[in-house]
Point group: C2
Chain length 238, copies 2
C-alpha cells in the first residue's frame, strides 16, 4: 500500500503497539493524513509494545514515530506499571461496570494531553486515538462523552486554538466497533496483525499469555471475524 | 505555623518552586487539606526549580513531595525546554494577547492530567494549581474557562468519578489576584519567598536574571505590594 508522505494534513496518532491503534493508524493514513505516531514509555513492564509500535508505524507509512518517556511509577499503582499480578481467567466480561486493576490512572488523559502538545508544535489539528467503547475492558476514558469533553477542554488550552482559531478534533474511528469489526477493517486496510501485541503479560520471548482480559478479547474478536489469529500464544485457552 | 498532617481531606497540589504555587500550597494547607505536592522534571533547563519545590513543600508542611519525570523534549520547542534564547526586555506586557515563546505546549493540561491520576490513586477529590489569569504572561491554559473545561473532562475520565461518584474539583485560589495581592496573601500565610524561584533563566548559582518576563512581573508585584523583594537578582533592572 503506497501512501503520500508529504501531502495531506498532519495528524498525531497514538500508537501503542496493539491491534486497535494499528487499525487507527491505518485508518488515518487511508483518509490521507500525514501521520505522526506517538508512543509512551511509561515504565510498563513490556517494552515489547514499543518495539511493535515502531514497526507498525514504519509498515503503515507514518512520517515519524516519537516515544515520550514518562515515569508514572511515581504516582502509583496499576497492574501494568506496578508489581501487581495481572489477573488471569478474569470474571469481568467486556461491558461490565467493574473496572479491572490493569487500569492506569488517567492514562488516556495523560496521553491525549501530550498528543495535544505535539499537535500544537506540528500545527496539526487532528489527533487519532484507538479507544473503543464496546469491548473496552471497562475503562471510563474510552467513552464518547469523555472524548468530547477532552476535545472541548483542548480547544481552550492551546495557543493554536486561542490565537489562531486552529481547533483540534479528536478522532476515534473505532469507538463504536466490536473487536471483530475492528479486525475486519484492519484486514481491509492491509494491517498485518502479526506485528501487533495485545497481551498484558507476555513471556520474555514476546509470546502472548492467551489468558488475560486483553488476550481473551483479541482471540474472541478473530474467532467472531472468521479470520485466522496470527498471534503466538503461550497457552491454549481452557 | 503548625498544621495537622493526618487530618483533613487529601489534596494534590502542583508545586513548581515558584512564587504562585508556594502561595497556593500555603492556601490549601491553611484550608485544612493534607497536601501532596507534585512537581515535574520535564527537562527544563533549571533544576533549581525542583530543589525549591522540595524545600517549599517541607517548609509549608506538605505530607509528601513527588517528582514525575517526563521528557517533553521529544515533542518539541519552547524556550523553557529547548535551545531557544529566553527573551529579555520583552515588549509583551501582562494581559497582552501575544503569547511568549516561553510557552510549553499543553503544559498545564499535561500537569493536571498527571495530578488527576495521582488524585485517583490517593482517593483525593481536590487538586490545587496556582494559575493566574491577571499577570499570566499570556498562557491560554491559565484562564478560568480552561480550568472549568478540564474539571468537566476529569469528571468523565476516572474510575473514581464514574464508579464512586467522587467528583474532582480543580482549585485555583490565585486565579483572579494580581501579583501584588498574591504576595500579600503569601506573607499573611507565612510563605518565605526567599525560597521561591521565578526566573526563566537563572545563573548557575541560582541568581535570577532580573530581566525576563517572569522576573519583571515578580519585581513589579513586590513593589506594588510594598513588600521588600528577597530575591537575589543578577542584574538591576534598567
Amino acid at each position: 500500500m503506497e501512501r503520500s508522505k508529504d501531502k495531506g494534513p498532519d495528524a498525531v496518532v497514538l500508537v501503542s503497539g496493539g491491534l486497535d491503534s494499528a487499525v487507527t493508524l491505518a485508518s488515518a493514513a487511508n483518509e490521507g493524513y500525514v501521520c505522526h505516531s506517538l508512543s509512551f514509555d511509561y515504565r510498563q513492564r513490556h517494552h515489547i509494545e514499543l518495539a511493535a509500535a515502531g514497526k507498525i508505524s514504519r509498515l503503515l507509512g507514518a512520517a515519524d514515530h516519537r516515544v515520550v518517556r514518562i515515569d508514572l511509577s511515581a504516582i502509583g499503582a496499576s497492574a501494568l506499571t506496578a508489581d501487581i499480578d495481572v489477573p488471569k481467567h478474569s470474571k469481568i466480561k467486556p461491558g461490565d461496570s467493574g473496572i479491572p486493576v490493569t487500569y492506569v490512572p488517567a492514562r488516556n488523559t495523560i496521553f491525549l494531553s501530550v498528543a495535544l502538545g505535539l499537535a500544537e508544535v506540528l500545527e496539526a489539528r487532528d489527533i487519532f486515538i484507538g479507544v473503543n467503547a464496546v469491548d473496552y475492558s471497562g475503562y471510563p476514558d474510552c467513552r464518547p462523552e469523555y472524548i468530547r469533553a477532552f476535545e472541548s477542554m483542548a480547544n481552550l488550552a492551546t495557543r493554536a486554538a486561542v490565537e489562531k482559531n486552529q481547533k483540534v478534533t479528536i478522532h476515534t474511528p473505532l469507538i463504536n466497533l466490536p473487536k471483530s469489526e475492528i479486525i475486519r477493517k484492519g484486514v481491509e486496510l492491509g494491517v498485518d496483525f502479526s506485528f501487533t501485541t495485545s497481551c498484558y503479560d507476555p513471556s520474555p520471548e514476546g509470546l502472548a499469555c492467551g489468558l488475560c482480559d486483553s488476550c481473551r478479547i483479541r482471540r474472541d474478536g478473530f474467532a467472531k471475524a472468521g479470520i485466522p489469529d496470527p498471534t503466538g500464544y503461550l497457552k491454549d485457552r481452557k
